[in-house]
């Protein structure tokens, strides 16, 4: 167990948190029943699960080190000014800690989840209105999370990242502007599509499984 320090240097990277101790979830690869080895998720997913399941401050600090400077850049580009900028960073990071139980790697990567929190917060602060958000899906985590599903979502997100990096510079700049909140609704209508089809189908599989579980408990 790492102790919390206020050392600005990032804490040691801890690749394996998935030990079989009381209160700690064990992730097994369902896709490979004959060889029930624990599986390795990305560093971000591992850190976020440690925050969610173990309230691990060192893991949170590591996420801060990666995301806070990027969230600051995001806030500036979306038009936040002065003290607003770091206020938004702070609100977003505190939400990551406080709402960690809503993080579900079967549906969203860490960066996708944080992106959504950040964009909603920016709108709340800058337009002084609450962005309407869909109902949260709540469900009992009686079943083991599906490690295969988590890995597949990570993999699709990697594909998407690569696809975005391969876009023509002007097209990439346009997509960046759109997701950073610099384009109006009318401008977005002109946008050419991103390759979102495969990641969407993968996420839908996860959601459909969840719907069955929801039905089961109702």
């Amino acid at each position: 167990m790492l102790t919390l320090t206020h050392d600005p240097s990032p804490p040691a990277y801890r690749p394996q948190i998935l030990e079989d101790k009381a209160g700690i979830r064990l992730y097994k690869d369902k896709a490979n029943v004959s060889n029930q080895s624990t599986v390795q998720f990305s560093e971000q997913t591992t850190l976020m699960l440690a925050v969610r399941d173990n309230r691990d401050r060192a893991a949170f600090a590591a996420l801060f080190d990666f995301f806070a400077p990027r969230l600051k850049g995001f806030a500036i580009r979306s038009g936040a000014k002065g003290g607003q900028v770091e206020d938004i960073v702070q609100d977003v990071m505190l939400t990551v800690w406080r709402k960690a139980d809503q993080f579900d790697p079967q549906r969203a990567q860490v960066s996708a989840w944080i992106y959504q929190i950040a964009r909603n917060r920016q709108i709340d602060v800058m337009r002084k209105e609450n962005k309407p958000v869909p109902e949260e899906l709540h469900y009992e985590v009686e079943d083991e999370p599906d490690a295969g599903q988590i890995l597949a979502v990570e993999q699709e997100a990697e594909h998407l990242k690569k696809a975005i990096s391969r876009l023509k510079p002007e097209q990439r700049a346009m997509i960046e502007q759109a997701y950073l909140g610099e384009l109006s609704h009318q401008d977005i209508r002109e946008l050419t599509g991103l390759p979102l089809g495969t990641i969407k189908s993968r996420i839908r599989l996860g959601l459909e499984k969840l719907r069955h579980e929801l039905r089961g408990i109702r």
Binding site: R70, S111, E135, E156, I199
Partner: protein, 211 residues
């Protein structure tokens, strides 16, 4: 859950995900996603794109003490925003707009009732109650209009819309939605311009009735 056949067009979903949609439309989109797995997955896919962009941004150094200040607050008590659950046919985001109360219906004629959730410069969003067989009076609009069915169904020139279905109409569409037989049709409808009903209420009265 009923089968949903009419979904959020991709450009609208992207506009919602990236936060460029005005409030009245964002409410309708959030309500539809509350009912629709397909579009929820689509939203998550857009968030994945947003996450990829976020990760690729250059570092903007933060103040030296920001991390300490945040870590110090992790255990501090905080005010939780109220969460509005679905109630009857009204999804969570609609209940939030209603502040947890039942809709306050007002008659607008011919058995049609409405309950305005918000109206302002960005447009308006309201609940509509349409008795079976009743037409929403023929109207045209000069902007975009989103209509989400919450109860019953309606049909117009473009097809049939049941619970969860979203109709997207622009200024080119002159349509006459008629509530189908059965339960009264309850819809969530948003426009970015004031509706111009023909022949229902004289134009001059429209600001008074806010329709």
């Amino acid at each position: 859950m009923a089968d949903i056949n009419h979904h959020i067009p991709e450009s609208l979903l992207q506009a919602y995900a990236t936060g460029s949609l005005v409030h009245p439309f964002a409410l309708v989109v959030a309500a539809h996603i509350s009912l629709c797995t397909e579009c929820r997955a689509g939203l998550e896919a857009h968030n994945a794109a947003g996450g990829a962009i976020l990760e690729s941004l250059p570092d903007e150094p933060v103040s030296d003490d920001l991390k300490v200040r945040i870590l110090d607050q992790l255990d501090a008590p905080f005010k939780q925003k109220p969460v509005y659950e679905r109630s009857g046919v009204y999804p969570g985001p609609v209940m939030e707009a209603l502040k947890g109360a039942a809709p306050r219906w007002r008659r607008v004629g011919m058995g049609v009732r409405q309950s305005i959730l918000s109206a302002g410069q960005d447009g308006s969003v309201r609940l509509l109650f349409i008795p079976p067989g009743q037409a929403v009076p023929d109207h045209s609009h000069n902007g975009l209009e989103l209509t989400l069915v919450l109860q019953g169904s309606f049909s117009d020139e473009t097809g049939r819309y049941g619970v969860g279905d979203l109709e997207v109409a622009n200024q080119d569409l002159e349509h006459t939605p008629i509530a189908d037989a059965g339960a009264p049709c309850i819809c969530l409808a948003a426009t970015d311009a004031p509706l111009r009903f023909k022949g229902l209420v004289p134009r001059i009265l429209q600001p008074v009735f806010r329709i």
